[in-house]
């Protein structure tokens, strides 16, 4: 009974976020511009100069999973700003006065962050097909991709919500978001293999959940070698759990 209530609340929060997107779809299209540029400008240029060793695959093939992951985290990492905004208005106050468990509110919001990522991922996939990037697209690989994208959205939107409870103002959260997105992105295997990084950066890349997102997406969509997928998923689920827990703890602090 309690679990049922938890799930109902969680889904209600997710539904709220998705309904907002449905009423204003322009934000989804706008968010596709940057990844398109990464693929068509950065990707095409770096393919042409062949400086990054990507083995048997073209650089664009290598890059596509990285850009997929990037587009999800760039949105998710600013999720905390919405929470601060809702807190400032009073919406959060009202939400917390309902019997919905706090953790269900956090989980519902981050799940929405993940589902939103899916919309973007499908858009990017479509663009990748249009510019002729060769990807493995079977029902199973696409399904796997969707699961990874959701996990990625949950991880980074909870991270952002946890940070929001520490930094507490929209201005600071803008700064924090910008300060951490680039390091997260560059200290991962998104745009170059971990093996060519200096040792210290490799250490960071290994601790970076984004590396596992990219790795999982690459094995599903590019190499088809699924031997490491189990470990990637395990690490992502564990990271998501820890970050969700931190975000739930932080949520209490937001109200005091």
């Amino acid at each position: 009974m309690k679990l049922k209530r938890f799930i109902t609340s969680m889904l209600a929060i997710t539904e709220l976020e998705l309904r907002k997107i449905r009423h204003d779809q322009s934000q989804i299209w706008m968010r596709l511009i940057q990844p398109i540029l990464w693929l068509t400008v950065f990707g095409v240029t770096f393919s042409a100069i062949r400086v990054i060793p990507t083995g048997d695959y073209t650089y664009l093939q290598f890059l596509t999973p990285g850009i997929l992951a990037q587009s999800v985290i760039f949105v998710a990492i600013f999720y905390g700003i919405n929470v601060v905004w809702e807190r400032d208005l009073g919406l959060l106050n009202k939400l917390m006065s309902t019997p919905a468990p706090r953790s269900s509110i956090v989980l519902g919001k981050s799940l929405a962050g993940g589902l939103r990522g899916i919309l973007q991922a499908l858009g990017i996939l479509l663009i990748a097909l249009v510019i002729g990037i060769d990807l493995i697209l079977t029902p199973l690989s696409i399904l796997g991709m969707l699961v990874i994208i959701i996990l990625c959205g949950i991880c980074f939107s909870s991270m952002s919500m946890a940070l929001a409870s520490i930094f507490r103002t929209r201005e600071r959260m803008m700064g924090v978001g910008q300060a951490i997105t680039m390091p997260l992105f560059f200290a991962s295997s998104a745009i170059y293999p971990v093996s060519i990084m200096p040792d210290w950066l490799q250490v960071i890349a290994v601790a970076n959940p984004l590396s596992y997102v990219v790795d999982a997406l690459r094995s599903l969509l590019v190499t088809g070698d699924l031997s490491g997928l189990g470990l990637d998923v395990l690490i992502l689920v564990a990271s998501a759990a820890v970050l969700l827990f931190l975000a739930s703890l932080g949520f209490k602090r937001m109200l005091v």
Binding site: I13, E15, K20, G90, N93, S97
Partner: protein, 333 residues
């Protein structure tokens, strides 16, 4: 066997401290079921903090609060399930429709799916927003938004409704509509209503009983009429451009509420209508020509002045709340 009937609200020695400040400083009071009870006081008096403790949103530093016999620390889930809350800030989402706002909250309160649609439509009809149910909330006026917030707080048929500054930031028409709505709720649904306000007219028109709160303390509690009777007569406000006004008043032996300031003093007299000619004569006898004389029956503001020594300052809070709402609507568009 005697059955104990629990009060809707029972607060004992409640205290909430933030570092150096005591937001709520040892207050105790009861609210019987079915009553409209108001906490009246200026901004920062501790009213909102009290509401938030009652709603289990924050924990008291010490003391206890019970809602229908349930402890706010131990039975928070049950208290939330039977409470409705219209916070001072904004509580409806501008980026979805009114119906959608109601729908999400019906789910958060665990309404069975079969009842949701009917209940939502009933409430929107009741509150007079049925024809705008499918419109985005950001297109609403401030008064409509407030009514929707009230509607949203009714979704779980609350036994007790908490209204934090229900008409703050509303224009006079919308304010009257809001008051009418609160009276209707009370009349037709018999809900217990707990409200906070810094608006003495609001407190006077809506509340059965009022607790006056100032700097964390509950100064006095009673029905509006009883409280006004404690002022002890009518208030005659006299003004004169004479620096010695307070001396003259002292010589004449008039009682005042508060200290005379800016050449104006509030005299406390019995039968104000009859006292005015005598007051004018008396001042003239002391060589003071009064510029104006004004009679009023005591208001809650006078009550507040009597017990706290200052008047309720209502400028900043109102303007701030209105501004927040306007900014919100602009940004949502």
């Amino acid at each position: 066997m005697t059955e104990m009937i629990d009060n809707a609200v029972k607060v004992e020695n409640l205290e909430k401290s933030y570092r150096k400040i005591k937001a709520v400083d040892g207050i105790s009071f009861d609210v019987p079921e079915g009553e409209v009870f108001g906490l009246l006081g200026p901004n920062g008096a501790g009213k909102t903090t009290t509401i938030r403790i009652l709603l289990t949103l924050i924990k008291p530093t010490s003391g206890s609060a019970r809602i229908f016999g349930m402890d706010t620390l131990q039975q928070s889930d049950k208290i939330r399930q039977i409470s409705g809350y219209v916070p001072q800030g904004i509580s409806v989402d501008g980026e979805i429709t009114a119906y959608e706002n109601m729908l999400i909250y019906s789910k958060l309160y665990g309404l069975p799916p079969a009842n949701r649609k009917k209940r939502i439509n009933e409430i929107l009809e009741y509150i007079g927003l049925a024809d705008r149910a499918k419109d985005m909330v950001k297109t609403y006026s401030g008064g409509m938004m407030r009514r929707l917030e009230l509607a949203q707080s009714l979704i779980n048929r609350p036994k007790i409704l908490f209204l934090d500054e229900p008409s703050i930031g509303l224009d006079p028409n919308a304010r009257n509509a809001m008051w009418e709505m609160v009276r209707k709720l009370r009349r037709e649904l018999g809900s217990t209503i707990f409200l906070t306000t810094h608006d003495m007219v609001e407190a006077d028109t809506l509340c059965d009983r009022i607790g006056i709160m100032d700097r964390g303390k509950l100064v006095v509690i009673g029905t509006p009429n009883d409280l006004k009777a404690t002022v002890g007569g009518d208030v005659v406000t006299v003004s004169a451009k004479n620096a010695s006004l307070s001396e003259v008043i002292e010589q004449l032996g008039y009682q005042t509420i508060g200290e005379p300031s800016n050449g104006t003093a509030d005299l406390l007299v019995k039968n104000g209508e009859k006292a005015i000619p005598r007051i004018v004569e008396a001042f003239k006898g002391k060589g003071v020509e009064l510029d104006s004389v004004f009679l009023k029956k005591p208001t809650l503001d006078d009550v507040f002045l009597k017990y706290t020594g200052s008047r309720i300052d209502d400028g900043a809070g109102w303007a701030q709340a209105k501004k927040t709402r306007m900014t919100y609507r602009r940004m949502a568009k």
